[in-house]
Every structure is written in C-alpha cells, then in structure tokens.
Symmetry: C2
Subunit: 458 residues, 2 copies
C-alpha cells in the first residue's frame, strides 16, 4: 500500500516559479552586500547543543529543534534519570546536536573560532535557513531563511551609516521605493527610563513602548502600570507617545528631555551623527525617520536600533531590522568585540513584491524556445540546433518524443514558451526551420544558415 505523501507542518515545498523569485531577491541582496565589502560565510545546519542552548531565553530553548543521537542512544542514559521519564531532563542525554535557531549565535561562534584568521573589522553576510519549533501560522514557518549582514570589531558610527545606505540601495534595486527606515538608539531608551526614574524596569518599559502602534497609548500605559512603573513615571514619559515633526525637531526635543542623562545624551549625539551624515550623503528612495518607540524587544542591542517598514499602503510587519550590540562574542570568551548588523526579511519582502507586482516580467520563464519533435531524423537535426542555442545561453529544449503535435503544443503552452520551432520532414529537406511566435501566432521561416539571426532576435 503506497503512502500518501505529505510534508511536516510549518515547512514548504518551493515550486520553480517560487525558487526563481526568491533567488531574484537573494541575488540583489548579495550583489549589494558584496559592493559594500561584506564577505559570505556559511555555518553548519546543526551546532553542538551547548552552543545554542541558553542563548535565546527559556522560550528559545524550547523552540530549538534537537537532533536525536545516533545508534543506541538510550544505552548511556542513567537508569534513575531514565525512570523519571522527565523529557526536559533526559533531552541532553539523548541529544547532543540541535538545528540552528538564528544566524547570530553561530556567527558569534564562528568569529571566536576563527578569530586568528580574520581581519577586523570583519564584515560578513550569511544567507541560510534557520529552524524553529514554533506553532505554524500564516506567515510563520518552522523553516525559513535569514539574511544577515554584520560588522564586528569596529565601534565607528560610519557602520550604522553604511547599513542604512545598504537598506536604501537594496530596496531601491528591488524597485520597492518608499520604504521607511526607522532609527532609534538603545541609549535614548535607557536615558528616558533614567530621567523618568524607571531605570530598573527599562526592559518592561521598552517592551511596552514597542507596542504603541498595536495597542495605543492607553494600552501601553496600562501595561506599564501592570509592570510596576509608577503613574508619575508614565506621566513624565507621556510626551514621548506623540513626538512628531521633522527629525531635527524631534532630536531637539529629545535632547531637552534627556539633558540630565549622560547615557541619553550620548544616544542623542549618536543619533544626530547618523542622521546628519545620511542627510549629507542622501538616500535613493528610502525615508529615514526617528522612532523612539522602536525597541524591537531585543535586549541585546546597546546602540542604534533599525527597523524597516514596507511602503505605505502595504499592510505588512517590518521587512528588516537590526542594531548594534556591544558584546556578541563574550558568551564564547572573546570580549570587547562590538558589532552592528541588519537583516532582511525574505518571506515578507517576497510577499510585498508579489502584492505590488514588482517582480520583473517573465522572471519565471523557464524556457525560451521549444523545438517540436517530428521523428528520429528531424529530432536529431532539432537537437543540433538546440545545442547551438544553449551554447549562447538560450533556454532551449527539444520535446523528447514525436508525440502528436497538439500534445506538444499543449506542453509548450503550459510551460509558457514564447517561441516554438518546427523542423519537420520538409524543413529537414530544404535546411530550414519555422519559428512560431506563440503569443502572436505569427510564423517565420529561417534557413539553417540564418540560425544566428534567429538567436539575435530572441
């Protein structure tokens, strides 16, 4: 009895058309990563469990896919432990490896292991899948690609400037004009917490503030209260809930609010440098705005925080994000290596390009020319021509058997081939071939000696 095949929930097959479109995005991203001086690395799909565990919080640990040890994996498990039947405790005895959860921790591990062969600042990019045992839902998968560019070993703010340029360059090249790059700085958030006297609950404060778009001012205030942030502190912070005006205006008001906080003022000055340098350089199509509510819920950022929003009118979460972190590699024993990086959200960018119809026309055309097959002799002549076309980079194919012509034409239609070549007995006799334009229906006859003319017309 044959199995009815299926794939695990949260995973996807990619059809030819999808692969081609995904590669279109990857190729553009890679091209610009490279012109910006980033170098590619790749790390193994699975790491030793102790490289990953404990790096993403309890929830993260739970979502990491563990790989069962090979062979008689239960033999080594202590009997007492085994008898507990405690999944949590037994896991580390029967599983030593785990699938990559993100690209950041493996990158930190890479930098530490390869530190003696790297030239700092080291600019790397990495485009590989990651796996999370998350509950699958619309737009959330258990296997998906991450696409990261990071610089480690330089605390220069020029890196932040370049990463903003990089976002602008990539989205401009993708024809996705009008994205908004939101910029914040962790030190500003810390300064705000300090000024309003809520320093010890900075994380709760920023996590709540981050939800302003979703749950509104009242919701945020309610959450802050529930986290033990005082009415007084919230009142002091409330001007932040509707900062508006130009970037320069906002900077000025923030500077005033944070003037008594050393850390906050440092954040303002970093933000100012980045904004002014970008203004001086100019952006191609993106808009750069200050957003003090931006916290990204990621507690390891220490300086700049980035997030990219799709053009107005497209309802989609962020399509990219990143920031500066001051101690990426400390967990693996290499101190004082500052890093800053950004990532591109491939799946969401894909959906936005689909929605706005920004993929190039006929990007997924898999065949330029199909030669019909009229029998052994004609087929051989057609195969010779096919070979000539392929050598010049034309996607060409010969129908593999001399099936009925309507079947062959149907195949050509299904594959959306623009040109079909007919080389039958008569054409073979007088060294010619007929090209049929499948859209217009027009036919044109070429002599074999005019093959190049046909190729040039494609």
């Amino acid at each position: 009895m044959a199995q009815k095949p299926s794939i695990p929930k949260g995973t996807r097959d990619f059809t030819p058309s999808e692969v081609v479109k995904r590669n279109y995005i990857f190729d553009i991203v890679k091209k610009h990563f490279q012109t910006f001086g980033f170098q590619p690395i790749e790390t193994p799909s699975f790491e030793n469990s102790d490289t990953l565990m404990g790096k993403y919080g309890d929830e993260g640990d739970r979502l990491i896919f563990k790989i069962l040890n090979s062979g008689d994996f239960l033999r080594k498990v202590d009997d007492n432990l085994y008898n507990s039947k405690d999944s949590n405790k037994i896991t580390s005895s029967i599983s030593e490896k785990a699938l990559r959860y993100d690209l950041t921790v493996p990158f930190a591990r890479y930098v530490v292991m390869h530190q003696n062969e790297l030239d700092f600042p080291f600019k790397r990019y990495q485009i590989q899948p990651v796996w999370r045992a998350d509950r699958p839902q619309k737009g959330r998968f258990r296997e998906f690609y991450q696409c990261d560019a990071d610089v480690v070993g330089s605390d220069s703010l020029l890196q932040e400037v370049e990463l903003i340029q990089l976002y602008d360059t990539v989205f401009t090249d993708l024809k996705l004009d009008g994205v908004t790059i939101k910029l914040n700085n962790r030190k500003i958030l810390a300064g705000i917490a300090e000024v309003i006297g809520a320093k010890d609950v900075l994380i709760d404060f920023t996590v709540a503030l981050d939800k302003l778009d979703k749950i509104g001012e009242e919701g945020v205030k309610k959450e802050m209260l529930s986290k033990g942030i005082s009415e007084h502190a919230i009142a002091k912070a409330s001007p932040l809930f509707n900062l508006s005006g130009s970037n320069a205006d906002q900077l000025e008001r923030l500077e005033e609010l944070l003037k008594d906080s050393e850390e906050g003022s440092k954040g303002i000055s970093e933000l100012r440098f980045i904004m002014e340098t970008i203004t001086s350089l100019g952006l191609q199509s993106a808009k750069l705005v200050i957003d003090v509510t931006l916290a990204r819920g990621l507690n390891y950022y220490t300086g700049a925080i980035f997030e990219v929003a799709a053009p107005e009118g497209v309802s989609m979460g962020s399509i990219g994000g990143g920031g500066r972190y001051d101690d990426l590699t400390g967990i693996f024993g290499l101190k004082d290596v500052s890093g800053v990086g950004i990532s591109f959200g491939l799946d969401r960018i894909y959906l936005v390009l689909e929605e706005l119809e920004l993929f190039p026309e006929a990007i997924d055309r898999s065949l330029d020319v199909l030669f019909l097959n009229f029998g052994p002799k004609e087929g051989l002549a057609a195969l010779k021509l096919t070979t000539v076309l392929r050598k010049q980079g034309i996607k060409a194919d010969l129908y593999p058997s001399d099936a009925k012509l309507n079947k062959q034409f149907k195949y050509a239609n299904n594959r959306n081939v623009p040109y079909v070549v007919l080389l039958g007995e008569e054409e073979l006799g007088n060294s010619s071939f007929i090209v049929k334009n499948m859209k217009s229906g027009e036919q044109q006859t070429y002599g074999l000696e005019e093959t190049q003319k046909f190729i040039d017309s494609l």
Copy 2:
C-alpha cells in the same frame, strides 16, 4: 566561564574564500541546468520520518538523522515500550521528523504531491544540503550538498543524450577538460547475468563486477564465488573483465555475447543509440566510453548508468553519476513514471579544481578599492566617493576609523585589496584623491571630476 566553541564532527564552517569558490561551481552548474530547460525546486530540510524510512535499506535508516519531538515528548510513550529501553523501538514514538538523506526521495515525494500542477516531462534541478550520520572521515561529511538534475515522465533516450551533453557542457565551462563519462546499461548487466546463467544473483554479480578497478579480476572472481556464483558462470563472464578497443568494437562484441538475451540485446541497442547520437552531435571536451563494469551499486537503476571520472592524473573517485530508474514515484503511489537523472559531486569537483588550479584568478577578492580614513571631514568625502563606486558595482569600502595609517595599510594588505585611495586634508582642499596600486606601489592623483575615469580603469 565562557564556553570554548566547537562544531559537530563531520560538519564544516565555510570561509568567505570557500563560499565564493563553491558558488562559482554552483553558478556554472545552474546556468547550464537552465539552458537545458531544467527548473529549480526546493524541498524542506526535514521530512516526515515515514517519507524517508525504509527507502535506503537498513544501513540508510540507521544513518538518517532523526529530530526529537518538541515539548514533553516522553509523555506519549507507552509505559511498556518505555520500560524496554529499546532505542530502536522507541525512536518512532519520540521522533516524527528526519533530516533529508538525499534529494531523490524528496523529489519523488514532490512529484507525487504536485503531480496535478506539473507538466510532464518535468525537468527539475535541485541543489540543497543532505545529512547522513556516517562516520566522518577524509572527504566524507555529515552535511554536504547534492546537486541533481532529473527528468521524469519521458522514456525517450534523448534524455540520456542530453544529460551526457550537460555533463560535457558543465565540465567544459569549469575548464575541467578531459573528464571521462562512463556509460553502461542495467539491461546489459542483466543480460550478462542471464547468458551466464546467474540471473538470480544479478545484484551480487554487479556489485562484485563494480569492484574490478579496486580489487582486480581475481578479487572479483573470489567475491563472486563467495556469493554462490558458479565457476562455470564466472568463466563465461570472464571476457567482460578485459573488454577493450573502440566503443564500436566493444558494442559489437557485447552484441555477440548477448545475442540470446532479449533484455541484454535491448540494452545494447539503447547503448548504441546513445553512443551514435552523441557521436553525431559531438562533445566539447569530455570523452564518452562504454564501461560494462559500471554498476554504481545502486539497485534502482533500470536503464542507462552514468559515471564521470576526473581527468587522468587526478586521483579522485567519481565526480558525478546517475542513471535511469523506471519507478521512482511508485513508493508514493504514482506508477509508471520513468525518470533519468545525474548528479554533480560538488565537494570532489571543488578539490579537483583546487588541485589543478582552475578557479579563476582573484575569484575570492572581496574588495576592489579601500578608502583610507583621515578623519571625520575627509572620511565623509571618502564615503561619498565610496558610494559612487558601489553604485557602479565596484566592491568598495572606507576604513571605519582614522586609525594610524600603517594599521589601515596592513588591513588593506591582509584583505588583498588591489587599490587603496588616499583622501587626506590636502586632497580634500583641492578636490582630488590619490590612488595607490598596492601591487606596483605606483600612485596616481585624480581630480574629483575624474572619478569616472578612475572607475573605468578598474
């Protein structure tokens, strides 16, 4: 206490230089897959266990990496089963997913699941990693890429012809001239077994015959004897151990030997068609030879069998292989779909290109131009120039801080940058910049208005 990081045995980090070289191979392979009309698909890294288990024999089942179920995975395990502490029996209760072992079974699963949206013949290529819990050793890894092209839904021998052309085209483009494409046919092997009266031990016969290169004629005979193949049968088969002469001569002698076997004669006629068609079309740099000892130990081939050997003088196993199989998708309930495919052995091809120094010069150059950093004002001017270069596809970078010049030059040397640009206070003042050729040491001054001239010189 910080962890000393490591990676699981049998896995690899790929450095920038390695990634670039691997991508060079992939890109050439992909380009020709596409001109030959193949379309890319991608499948999930893990499949449901029952999709994979039982498809690769007992040894294969053992080598498949299983993924532990998430959450309290032991809760559902029956107590009696649990108390047995039998790893083998418990596995399927605590693991429902497994990492892809090859690309062929997932492809078969894909074809069956997507059969209604596919146009047959369906030509697909797939380049993705696979995982095997094999004992790691030199050149054998637990994670490695496979790179396959298959056609399903056509039994035309023109497919075999095209796949041979494809091998020739790819290896020629990789500048790897002089590879040998070995060709055999499963039906010939079956015919031989029939003629010598050893039909029931065909698999043992071909597995032994496959070892001719390694263990010699005597070794093969000994193995055949040990498998219960009679002295008489071996004596009848022994002319096969030293077939030589031209392909045409060999075909003729095989035809004579197999004239009483219907299946063998069919194999001969298939082989003849393929050889003659290829002769008529011509190959660019590869050599096509008949090799009746070629069995590839793969029992699912039913027609043509291919294997590619590196050019003479390079000691390396096969760098590619494939064949025709008549019932790929039967295991998933779709009958009568004939397929034929080839694969490229990426890791070995990489080693061969390294050994023969066939990678393009400077392929791993990650930076074309480095701008030195002389301070905030000069740096900003340099960043503007960097931006101009990048827009034209030049890999350009600005050193991120105004560190001491010898440190900046050292960085430039380490990264092997051919051109360094100096834009200091004086140059900023007179709107110029100095380009230093790092190889010759020559310096040339350009006015800012001559930037394009500089770019064009790169």
